[in-house]
């Protein structure tokens, strides 16, 4: 027979559909259980996909230098000038941050205050040169990414006030009022979104003894292959100075193994997804076994009519595959929906990477659904292959 598997499956579909409809309640419950298991699967594998994506997107030619002993104290800005002079360093930028809160201490907010070359070092952060020029010309200007703008209900032109006791100004006040100049698009490396402002404004507003310091010197090298050597060179250069540095290459800093305090997140998410699937495997296997047991005579009739082993097995596998595949599709779709809404229930400004339903997640779900269907159908199918038609027919169900 030259028929493709698909065509044959389609021909069997009415038979399978009739089998499923025999016990509609059971079919619906099975579908729902499979859907829920695949929702968990989608969220977990989707989360893995996100952090893998972050690692892949992280750049090997970009690195961050900060104070080795006390990030908060920062480095003298002169460190940046010496780093910029190193061979192989293409561009440097300096930044400090303002840690504060909006209205209530619970509403943490972090504003990165950076110099003019920031967007040249971070071109992938979706802040255009034009917008950044505006921020550099308007001292109190900031650019907010969409997630942050939604969190604080801000749009371009609004003002934004942050209380930052850790950044007390020279005049003794701790309140910083900014003007939102533009809204930028978010990007995977910053799951909570970003707010960027003008470094010079921060620096000049601080008391004289706190001026001239930066939390970070970020740089890009002319060749990723040079990065490890340059990172070492920077740290060696300042090792015996009054401001030792700690330089990290972005690719290393954002590696999955480094990202969650040493926790193996990928292992964790895969184990949870697997637990969900094994729970469901038991259910679907039982449902199929039961359904086949109930229709033993029916299958015997099919055999008597000349349906071969392959056809009968195909029927059983198909009957298992329908709820598995439908549940996988529904489950991952539900996971995608939930993933969109997780950020809104998380603590404000808590940077949680959201699960992404990449093509790999869908492919994984479909593959798992097939495995689930085959595993569930295996035992009943074997029993059907071994059955004695005469006995089966005589034993009226």
């Amino acid at each position: 027979m030259g028929e493709t598997l698909l065509l044959r499956s389609l021909r069997y579909l009415p038979l399978v559909w009739a089998a499923i409809r025999r016990k509609p309640m059971r079919a619906v419950m099975t579908l729902l259980a499979v859907t829920v298991a695949f929702t968990v699967f989608g969220l977990m594998i989707g989360f893995s996909a996100t952090i893998d994506g972050v690692e892949q997107r992280a750049r090997a030619d970009r690195m961050f230098s900060s104070a080795r002993f006390g990030y908060d104290d920062g480095l003298p800005v002169a460190v940046a000038h010496r780093i910029a002079g190193l061979s192989g360093v293409r561009q440097t930028t300096v930044s400090s941050y303002i840690p504060g809160y909006v209205r209530d201490q619970k509403n943490h907010v972090f504003i990165g205050m950076a110099d003019a070359s920031y967007v040249k070092v971070f071109p992938d952060w979706n802040v255009s040169q034009a917008v950044w020029d505006m921020v550099q010309h308007d001292r109190t200007g900031i650019v907010m990414s969409r997630l942050q703008a939604e969190l604080w209900h801000k749009k371009a032109g609004d003002s934004f006030t942050v209380i930052a006791p850790a950044r007390t100004k020279a005049d003794g006040t701790t309140s910083w009022t900014f003007k939102v100049l533009a809204i930028s698009e978010d990007f995977p490396l910053a799951p909570a979104g970003i707010i960027l402002g003008n470094y010079d404004y921060l620096d000049k507003s601080l008391p004289p003894d706190k001026q001239g310091r930066v939390n970070e010197v970020d740089l890009v090298t002319s060749d990723p292959a040079l990065s490890p050597r340059i990172a070492q060179e920077i740290d060696r250069m300042f090792a015996n100075s009054s401001s030792p540095t700690q330089t990290e290459i972005e690719k290393m800093a954002l590696a999955v193994s480094n990202n969650f305090g040493g926790m193996d997140v990928n292992l964790l998410t895969h184990e949870i997804a697997l637990a969900g699937l094994s729970m469901i495997l038991f259910l679907t296997a039982n449902v199929i076994a039961q359904s086949v047991r109930e229709r033993f005579a029916e299958f015997a009739t099919l055999r008597a009519l000349g349906y071969g082993d392959g056809a009968v097995i195909g029927l059983v596998v198909l009957e298992a595959a329908v709820p598995c595949l439908a549940g996988a599709g529904l489950g991952v779709a539900l996971a995608a929906f939930l993933a969109h809404h997780i950020q809104s229930i998380m603590p404000p400004s808590f940077g949680v990477p959201m699960p992404t339903m990449s093509a790999a997640v869908y492919a994984g779900a479909v593959a798992s659904a097939f495995v689930l269907a085959f595993a569930s159908a295996a035992l009943p199918a074997i029993r059907l292959m071994r059955m004695n038609i005469a006995t089966a027919l005589s034993r009226r169900a």
Partner: protein, 388 residues
């Protein structure tokens, strides 16, 4: 026949026929084992971390830090302000009459984890003359105490085990050179994942001109509001004053909320899946025993007794599964030392958590078993008998 007696008899009958429905019944057992196994495994980490934060310090311990600081390192308290804070009335006194207070210094130093070489950081805290008085739980387990004024460190037992280069005899690189680790201590709280050195010497080494915070013990736990008022109304100071445990809660609050959403979110989703499985199983159990139930009803057993027996069966299977899941989580994670960044803590699967797991199991069984049990009780006797 009393209702209770009926329930007992019908349930006993159910359980006796369980073997015939073994594989179906296992759907509930395996389902709940997965749900509770995953739930408790995830909770073991969050509860362990949370309890490490909660259990740190004495209830009379008060933490003073710059107003609005979100973590230890962000605090900045100059020496003269620390003096004012330590001279404020209400602080417990040492036998020599001095205040039991210790201006704190907090430095973090990059290190690597032993288990996978991942980048992490380690906290080094300064300990002054009153440091040990403030930490009665502190004791050395190996080596000796650092000598005040010398370039020496002591390491907590968990830090020693988790981080590369943090064993007794190793040297930590600080800005002014290598500091040998001369002792190992245990406190039973988060400090076990850190190091201590002499505050004054450390400050010179890392070139900090200010303290980060002041830890002190009040003479009485009731003295907090008066003490706080004294500091808050002093124009020379701009600080937050709170019990140490409150500061610790604050440090972990956002992360704890995030973890709770993840853990319970995943747990609830899986439980819903198990609920459908439970429903399916009980539904087919009831329909498989259609004639048996009808016979019982014809003999005069009440519908209620039948319904209760179905629910009991579901609950028993579900609890059995939950216990398997709990046993898995307990044997794999309880007491395991784990680290999250610089926080090293002991994972916990406590009896209370297992109890919560069992309650979940009962809830799932009741929700999943209620419709099938009602159906079993309601079906007209004549229909059911004819159906065979």
């Amino acid at each position: 026949m009393s209702m209770l007696r009926q329930i007992v008899i019908v349930s006993a009958l159910n359980f006796r026929s369980l073997r015939a429905r073994l594989w179906q019944s296992l759907v509930i057992v395996v389902g709940m084992a997965c749900v509770i196994g995953v739930l408790l495994s995830m909770l073991s980490m969050t509860e362990g971390l949370h309890s490490a934060y909660r259990n740190t310090g004495d209830p009379r311990d008060v933490f003073v830090i710059s107003a609005g600081a979100l973590w230890d390192g962000a605090g900045s308290i100059p020496r003269d302000q620390a003096r004012i804070i330590m001279d404020t009335p209400g602080i417990a006194r040492a036998p020599d009459g001095s205040a039991i207070a210790d201006p704190g210094l907090y430095v973090n130093v990059p290190v690597r984890l032993r288990k996978n070489g991942a980048r992490s950081w380690i906290n080094i805290r300064g300990m002054g003359p009153k440091g040990e008085l403030l930490r009665p739980e502190f004791h050395l387990v190996a080596g000796r105490m650092f000598h005040p004024g010398s370039h020496e460190l002591i390491v907590g037992i968990h830090a020693r085990d988790q981080f590369q280069g943090a064993s007794l005899g190793d040297k930590m690189i600080l800005p002014d050179g290598a500091w040998p680790i001369v002792g190992v201590y245990a406190t039973g709280d988060l400090r076990d994942g850190e190091l201590f050195g002499d505050t004054a010497t450390l400050m010179l080494s890392v070139r900090h001109k200010v303290y980060n915070s002041v830890l002190l013990r009040l003479a009485s736990p009731d003295g907090l509001s008066a003490f706080r008022k004294a500091l808050k109304t002093n124009p020379a100071l701009n600080v937050d004053v709170m019990p140490l445990h409150e500061w610790n809660e604050k440090l972990i609050a956002d992360f704890a909320q995030f973890m709770r959403i993840i853990v319970y979110g995943v747990g609830i989703l899986l439980a819903i899946g198990a609920l459908f499985g439970c429903f399916n199983t009980m539904y087919s159990a009831v329909s498989a025993r259609k004639s048996e139930i009808a016979t019982l009803r014809a003999l005069g057993y009440g519908g209620f007794a039948v319904a209760v027996s179905v629910m009991l069966e579901a609950a028993m299977l579900s609890v059995a599964g939950a216990m398997i899941g709990a046993a898995f989580a307990w044997s794999r994670y309880d007491g395991v030392i784990d680290g999250f960044g610089s926080d090293i803590f002991r994972m916990i699967v406590s009896p209370a958590m297992i109890g919560i797991g069992l309650l979940w199991a009962v809830a799932v069984a009741l929700l999943g078993g209620i419709l099938p049990s009602v159906q079993a009780a309601r079906r007209p006797v004549s229909d059911a008998l004819r159906a065979t």
